[in-house]
């Protein structure tokens, strides 16, 4: 006999649900029936809003009255590369104001690519008595005044993480605002701050917080002070050093090496600005235990770099500059069999000539030597279809593959062919691929492969590729799980977009800049699809002053139940029924 869902005691269902934490699962639960929807919404504790304009804060508050953690994202990803003009939006204040009233017990706020004012930080600091974690990832708009408010008021703060944010006029005094009685800090990431922080305040803070596991310093913390900090926090699991150079003095060196030796729990290292190679051996004692090494800001080269990396046999994640070269990647492939994530960044992205010997061979070596490789970001200056095919066959577990050949439209340098076949092999072999970034010379053919094979693809980034609307059409019609699509400088126009209008409601967002989508098509799309915000971003002035068939500069389309937003600057227009 079937038991009706409503006869299942609520408390039992709530208890079961407390083990279900993934957003996707929670969403699925809420769709089972009305009573499950009700029970679920009353006990949901965390929410992730991938686009802050997709929903209004009041709607979130109405549905989920008991949240403890809110995560929001603002600007589109291409904002990282200056493609979104300043002032576009993503201001968090309206959310903070609403959350402050609705959730006095809120504990966590995580923001990415949002504009955060000092006022917002002050509201956070004063509204939530039990506030624990603040993460500001790639945010901007605030200063150390706002941080001072957080330090002074959040008595139970466990995490303050400013990763990659831009902080105005940083002065180190805000750190002193943590009261002496404050001891709960577990995670502090200030690596993005430009100016000095008060070292004595930092040292005292680190010394009195026994739960501190993550400490990412900024470049202004000098090397000779690092040993003191480490001795005050031997329990650290993740460390970002400050500047890593000083005159080589034996006592400074041995002090530092001793301090590192004392950190038996250390698993992750980063920082290393301005490395003086003579000090690198000081970290050797911890290398064998490291699972994550971030040398993205480190100007270590040649043998020093290879020696360092080769000692890290447990490494799972490596971020490094292309100083590692093919030869270093070969060494990596030989030593680090557990590697799952590799990111190689360009040391000289704007140079006309290559300054290092890093080619497709390096990536091939890693794919051959590291069978667990899942995530790759690789900047290089040359690639071949053959290399891509090899890489595709070697790494079945790949879920994120981002290749950036620095020269736009660069072909296979041996055959001069487009790289369609290579990327085709990538999407055909990587059955679980969720994220892909393309580069090099690519025709519509590559998009046909993507539409055919990349069935689990969620995010695709395209630049300087394709021949016609057919390319865009392949992607929009073929990639069933597509969530975010960002395109720049491609000859994609009205036809593919209008033909796949319905698809856009199944995605989080679509960005197109320097393409061929006309103003007329944007208006049409806005009229036809009321649940999309079709934003035309054009710094040349109002689009209706130009002919309708004129392409718009930038286009940002996202699904929303919030309707058009009202905080648009003068260069953004939302197309809707009564547009412009």
């Amino acid at each position: 006999m079937l038991r009706k869902a409503s006869s299942f005691p609520e408390e039992m269902l709530e208890h079961v649900l407390s083990f279900i934490t993934s957003d996707k699962d929670r969403n699925a639960v809420s769709l089972v029936c009305k009573s499950w929807y009700e029970i679920e919404r009353w006990c949901r504790k965390r929410i992730f809003v991938g686009n802050c304009y997709a929903v209004r804060p009041e709607m979130v508050i109405r549905r989920f009255p008991e949240l403890r953690s809110v995560e929001l994202k603002g600007k589109p990803h291409f904002a990282d590369f200056d493609l979104v003009p300043d002032g576009w939006g993503g201001c968090v204040y309206p959310w903070i104001a609403a959350l402050a009233t609705a959730y006095p017990l809120l504990e966590e706020i995580k923001l990415k690519r949002m504009v955060v004012s000092d006022e917002s930080l002050e509201v956070i600091a004063k509204s939530f008595k039990n506030f624990k974690v603040l993460v500001l990832s790639s945010c901007e708009g605030f200063s150390t005044d706002g941080l001072a408010a957080v330090a002074a008021n959040c008595r139970n703060l466990r995490g303050l993480d400013l990763r990659e944010s831009e902080v105005d006029d940083p002065s180190g005094q805000w750190l002193s605002r943590f009261p002496d009685s404050f001891t709960s800090l577990a995670s502090l990431n200030i690596s993005c701050l430009g100016a000095e922080v008060s070292f004595s305040a930092l040292e005292r803070l680190v010394g009195r917080c026994p739960d501190l596991k993550t400490l990412r310093l900024n470049h202004a913390v000098p090397l000779d002070k690092l040993a003191n900090l480490l001795r005050g926090a031997p329990q650290l699991v993740e460390l970002g050093t400050g500047a890593y150079s000083a005159e080589l003095q034996p006592d400074v060196f041995s002090n530092l090496a001793g301090a590192f030796s004392g950190c038996k729990e250390l698993r992750s290292l980063s920082g290393f600005w301005n490395v003086f190679p003579g000090y690198l051996p000081a970290v050797y004692p911890v290398c064998s235990g490291l699972t994550s090494l971030n040398l993205r800001d480190a100007n270590i080269q040649g043998a020093d770099l290879i020696k360092l990396v080769s000692q890290c046999r447990s490494l799972q994640r490596l971020w490094v500059l292309d100083y590692i070269e093919d030869i270093g990647l070969e060494a990596l492939a030989a030593c680090c069999k557990d590697l799952t994530e590799l990111r190689v960044f360009p040391s000289d992205p704007y140079g006309a000539e290559p300054n290092v010997s890093l080619t497709e061979r390096g990536l091939v070596s890693v794919s051959e030597g590291c069978p667990k490789l899942q995530s790759v970001l690789y900047f290089c200056r040359q690639m071949t279809n053959a290399a891509l095919v090899t890489i595709a066959k070697n790494s079945p577990r790949m879920t994120c593959f981002r290749l950036c050949i620095i020269e736009p439209r660069a072909p296979d340098y041996q055959t001069l062919q487009p790289l369609d076949l290579g990327f085709g092999a990538i999407v055909e072999n990587y059955k679980d691929l969720r994220r892909l970034s393309l580069s090099g010379l690519l025709t519509d053919r590559v998009f046909e492969y993507i539409g055919t094979y990349a069935k689990k693809l969620e995010m695709l980034s395209v630049a300087f590729a394709g021949d016609s609307d057919l390319g865009l059409h392949h992607v929009l019609s073929g990639c069933e799980k597509l969530c975010k699509l960002e395109i720049r400088d491609c000859p994609f126009g009205d036809n593919a977009l209008l033909a796949n209008a319905a698809k856009l409601e199944t995605m989080r967002s679509l960005w197109m800049s320097s393409c061929s989508v006309s103003f007329r098509a944007c208006k049409l799309l806005g009229q036809k699809m009321p649940r999309l915000n079709v934003e035309v971003i054009d710094e040349r002035g109002p689009p209706d002053l130009r002919p309708e068939n004129c392409p718009v500069e930038k286009l940002y389309i996202y699904r929303t139940i919030a309707g058009p937003r009202f905080d648009m600057p003068g260069f953004v227009w939302t197309m809707n029924g009564d547009s412009v």
Binding site: D80, F81, D82, L83, P85, D86, G87, E164, E166, H219, W273, N274, N299, L321, F345, P346, S347, D348, P349, Y350, G351, A352, E353, P354, N355, F379, R381, Q382, C404, E407, P408, A410, P411, Y413, L416, Q417, P418, L441, S461, A463, F464, D467, D489, C490, P491, G493, S514, S516, S518, E539, R540, G541, R546, P547, N549, C550, P551, P569, G570, F571
Partner: protein
């Protein structure tokens, strides 16, 4: 580099030209792909613009005048002027906005740090790091950012700023808009007017009028820009003091 200069235009137009733009894979292209710079010996930017004027738009979607406007506006916004140099030497690489996709805040941070290093670290900056500064305008509700290295002169910067803030000046402040601070008007006239004057904060924290020091010096010392009303700018450091600073640095 021809391909990236025209990167904002549509690829289909390339097929219309009889003339080879040196694109890889195009018929008749030589094998130049060892060097990243593909426009070696090929037309510089000015000539490619000329080519555009004689092209038929492929499906008549774009009107010819629009074509020109788009190219020139894109050029002004995104690209420094590419001059045609000695054809034997590859022209300076025109920088495409946001490419390669490297975080801008990192560009600034890396260039500041590397500035203090020994010569052997020079390779890592490549000499073409960015110089992003915030620009605010009195009365405007938000900040903008510009990369000073994108411009070669005060005139270029002035044009870019005028364009950036035209939406304010047109809407709220009437047709006068941003002043052209490179014009002939005397300083005092400017300062007494109700028009807008750009000022900047330099490395010492002083606010100076834009245009007082040589361009290169300005780029190296400017930390942020503020566009203020002429009447407010009177209190700023005036030209004589700027020259003192100039001398003390050289």
């Amino acid at each position: 580099m021809a391909a990236s200069v025209l990167g904002t235009d549509r690829a289909d137009n390339y097929k219309e030209t009889e003339l080879c733009l040196g694109l890889p894979g195009a018929a008749g292209a030589k094998n130049e792909v060892e060097t990243p710079n593909k426009s070696t010996g090929k037309r510089g930017f000015a000539e490619t613009v000329d080519l555009k004027l004689h092209l038929q738009a492929k499906d008549g979607v774009m009107d010819l005048n629009e074509n020109i406007k788009n190219i020139t506006s894109n050029v002004k916004n995104h690209l420094p002027a590419v001059t045609i140099k000695d054809p034997a030497k590859p022209p300076a690489k025109a920088q495409v906005v946001g490419w390669p996709p490297v975080r801008s805040y990192r560009k600034n941070v890396m260039s500041q740090k590397n500035a203090g290093e020994e010569g052997d670290q020079k390779a890592s900056t490549g000499g073409s790091s960015a110089a992003f500064v915030k620009v605010c305008m009195d009365g405007a509700p938000y900040l903008r950012k510009v990369d000073l290295k994108m411009y070669k002169s005060y005139q270029e910067l002035s044009d870019a700023l005028a364009k950036m803030f035209s939406s304010f000046t047109m809407g709220n402040y009437g047709a006068q808009g941003m002043i052209d601070f490179m014009n002939e008007r005397k300083l005092m006239d400017l300062l007494n007017s109700s028009e807008y004057v750009p000022s900047y904060e330099d490395k010492d924290g002083d606010w100076m009028l834009v245009g007082d020091v040589p361009w290169e010096m300005f780029v190296n010392s400017c930390k942020r820009l503020r566009i203020m009303k002429g009447s407010e700018a009177i209190g700023l450091v005036s030209a004589p003091r700027a020259m003192e600073k100039c001398k003390s640095r050289t």
